[in-house]
């Protein structure tokens, strides 16, 4: 009986398999892209971008977008979208600042409210706006795109009614801890981002609710047939998005020690872009929070690197647009 001798695989086949496995792991690809970007930036700027101070800058500049992006990821994972994050964040920022300001003619409660009371209120108000979005999407069945687009304008208008378009300044010094405070050398805002990302990851990967989010995004009919309350899941993800937009409003108010109608402008597109770059599928059901964090960091590195290089705003727009389109194109090609 002839002995069966397994032929050794040619090297090229093995390499192809490794490449396949590597490419199948989205986070590995994102980490590679991130490292390549950092290396490229470091080479072009002669190491300037990898200085400790600049790395902290990138993290700090990414923290607020990052927190809101985690919330955005929840909605996108259910095949929804939340265009109102900037509006909700703006309103909570204006509202909170109007409660805390020492300029009494701008203070809507007539006296200075402690940041430790105002901040939870801001987050809860954000959650309230999100719940309103969630109700309209899940109970009435309206398209998320339209609901959140409208809510964005409602929030903006409501914020104008509170601020009358003026800057709100003279906020309590205690708020400054969240802006410039550091714990172990790490800015507080960055720590908040890390905590939010860890909780978001845990909820999505290790809870029934998280599994349900993926199921609803992947196929809502199948999810419903398996007993998942699709309406409740949709309601919850918009509420989470609103809550984190409110938290982003708190963070931005602290960072600027003020609030105005310009606060958090463009946040909605930045969060969607970060989620897409991070591998969250706009069709729902695919993606994870690690990817979102990497997406936020990739965008942060690109913005920071180009700023350090002195790139014009138009060049930044071209690069960022190219990255986002490419990320979405990859997602679509994978699904075909």
């Amino acid at each position: 009986m002839a002995e069966i001798v397994e032929k050794p695989k040619p090297f090229s086949v093995t390499a192809r398999e490794i490449a396949k496995r590597f490419l199948r792991n989205e986070n590995a690809v994102l980490i590679t892209v991130l490292v390549a970007l950092i290396a490229a930036m470091a080479a072009v700027t002669k190491g300037l971008v990898i200085s400790r101070a600049n790395v902290m800058n990138v993290l700090l500049q990414s923290a607020i977008t990052g927190v809101a992006s985690v919330g955005q990821a929840f909605t996108i994972l259910t095949a929804g979208i939340d265009l109102s994050v900037a509006g909700m964040g703006l309103f909570t920022s204006i509202l909170g600042a109007s409660m805390m300001t020492g300029v009494l003619e701008q203070n809507i409660v007539g006296h200075v409210v402690s940041p430790y009371i105002a901040m939870p209120v801001m987050v809860l108000v954000g959650a309230g706006w999100g719940a309103l979005n969630g109700s309209l999407v899940s109970r009435i069945g309206m398209p998320a795109l339209i609901v959140t687009l409208g809510m964005w304008q409602v929030c903006k208008g409501a914020a104008f009614q509170v601020s009358r378009g003026h800057y709100i300044i003279d906020l309590p010094e205690g708020l400054n801890f969240f802006a410039s405070g550091r714990v172990g050398g790490v800015p507080v805002l960055v720590i908040i981002f890390i905590v939010v990302a860890v909780i978001g990851y845990f909820v999505l990967q290790h809870t029934t609710f998280g599994k349900s989010v993926y199921a609803v995004g992947g196929n809502p009919v199948s999810a419903w047939l398996t007993g998942i309350n699709v309406k409740n899941i949709r309601f919850m993800v918009f509420t989470i998005s609103g809550l984190l937009a409110g938290l982003a409003g708190v963070m931005m108010t602290a960072r600027g020690m003020s609030s105005s109608m310009q606060t958090l402008g463009g946040l909605e597109l930045n969060t969607i872009a970060a989620a897409c770059v991070g591998g969250v599928s706009l069709a729902g059901g695919k993606g994870n929070i690690i990817g979102v964090v990497l997406g936020v960091l990739i965008m942060g590195i690109i913005n920071n690197g180009m700023s350090v290089l002195g790139a014009t705003i138009t060049a930044q727009g071209i690069v960022m647009g190219t990255v986002i389109i490419t990320a979405v194109a990859i997602d679509y090609m994978r699904r075909r």
Binding site: N54, N57, G265, S307
Partner: protein, 447 residues
Amino acid sequence: MKKFIVPLVTVAVVASIMFAGCVPGAAPPVTPPPVTPPPVTPPPVTPPPVTPPPEAPEIPLSPSGTRVYSSKLANLNPFGENFAIKPDGTPYVFATTYIFVTVDPMAKWVANIHSLLKRGGAEYIDFDPNGDPQKQIAFVENLIAVRKPDALIMQSINEALLAPVTDQAAAAGIPTIAFDFDNYSENTVCTVYDHFRGDFGSNLLGEYFIELAERDNVHINVFEVWGDKSVDSSVARHEGFHSVVDARPDLITVMESGDLGWNSVELASTYVMDAFTAYPELNGTFQHGGGNAGSIEGLRAVDRLLPLGDPNHVYISTNDMDTSGVREMDNGFVDAFAQHGGWYVSDATVQVAFTHVVLGQPVPRYINLPLFVVTPDNIDTTYFFGALAAYPRMPLDPDLWPVLDFSPIGIEIPTEDMKATGYNPIAGYQDPTQAMYDAAVTQAELP
């Protein structure tokens, strides 16, 4: 899998190419003007209320046919080519950032700042955040961490939001000179502005409308074209105008438009066309700023752009008139505009920056330049003081604009001689609005 690899590689290649291509290019070449040593001819200290321009024979025509004031040309390149060079031979580096350059006046004065910096031998790092305060904050943070310029010249998009990062810059040894808009940071070295705490001249325009209504014995129904309700300065312009005209409902009535997003020419045109078609009784416009060419074109489209003196003339006014609007004032269609930020603001800003950073001299916390209401009656006078935001009549190209002589108002042009002697050119600073321009232009009460 091949389908997947190709786009991925494409991303990497495109990103690499883009980054490589994003290194700032060389600044536009500055044509060195002829070095003309001082003496500096100071402008008249107290001109009469409406000073006629100098006699025609003394004013040569530029190639474009506009007038050139030779007394100003004498000041070309007063800094000297190596004024802003450190003892080690390297140039001083200034970072510049502003709101945006998508409106005509701002594009011009940013170009003037860059031109003047280069003319003094300095280099600059430039960033246009295109109206996004978060990007402007990030730019300053990156300057502190990486590029560490000698100073920051900043038009704050948001005077409050930019304050904390200005404090950080000061702590890192980067002084901030603000222009046009203040910065609420106590560490701002100097703010060069024109009446920014008030109404940007919109109150003056309101007063001018009342004057016109009384003069012509008409009730003016003004169509107010908003800039952007989310921008503090737009709200200030609205409130400034209404603080005056609302007191005279017998003469002025105001109807408001929607937002332009600050500077949309198309929307301005649309709003004006719609409003003047639906409400033919409208006979005035007041616009907050950018995109004002659209209002004029909107009036033209509905046959309401009529010359001054016509019985159906529409009274046209705006803040921050752009080039086409100034030409329409020359053509006899436009009544007034409030001059917000002019040639002199950028000029004084660079002089202050050089004084503080290169000469190491203290400068006042505020330099408060006058704000003009430009009308057909005084446009020549205000031009003489470099007041036109849109510069359609400026005699030379941006790289050759003459440097203004601020010595009558306490800011002498920092020269190489001053650098050598340590002379403080701003020691005798006085509020310029009290000295030079009061009689020549309409003035608001300053804060």
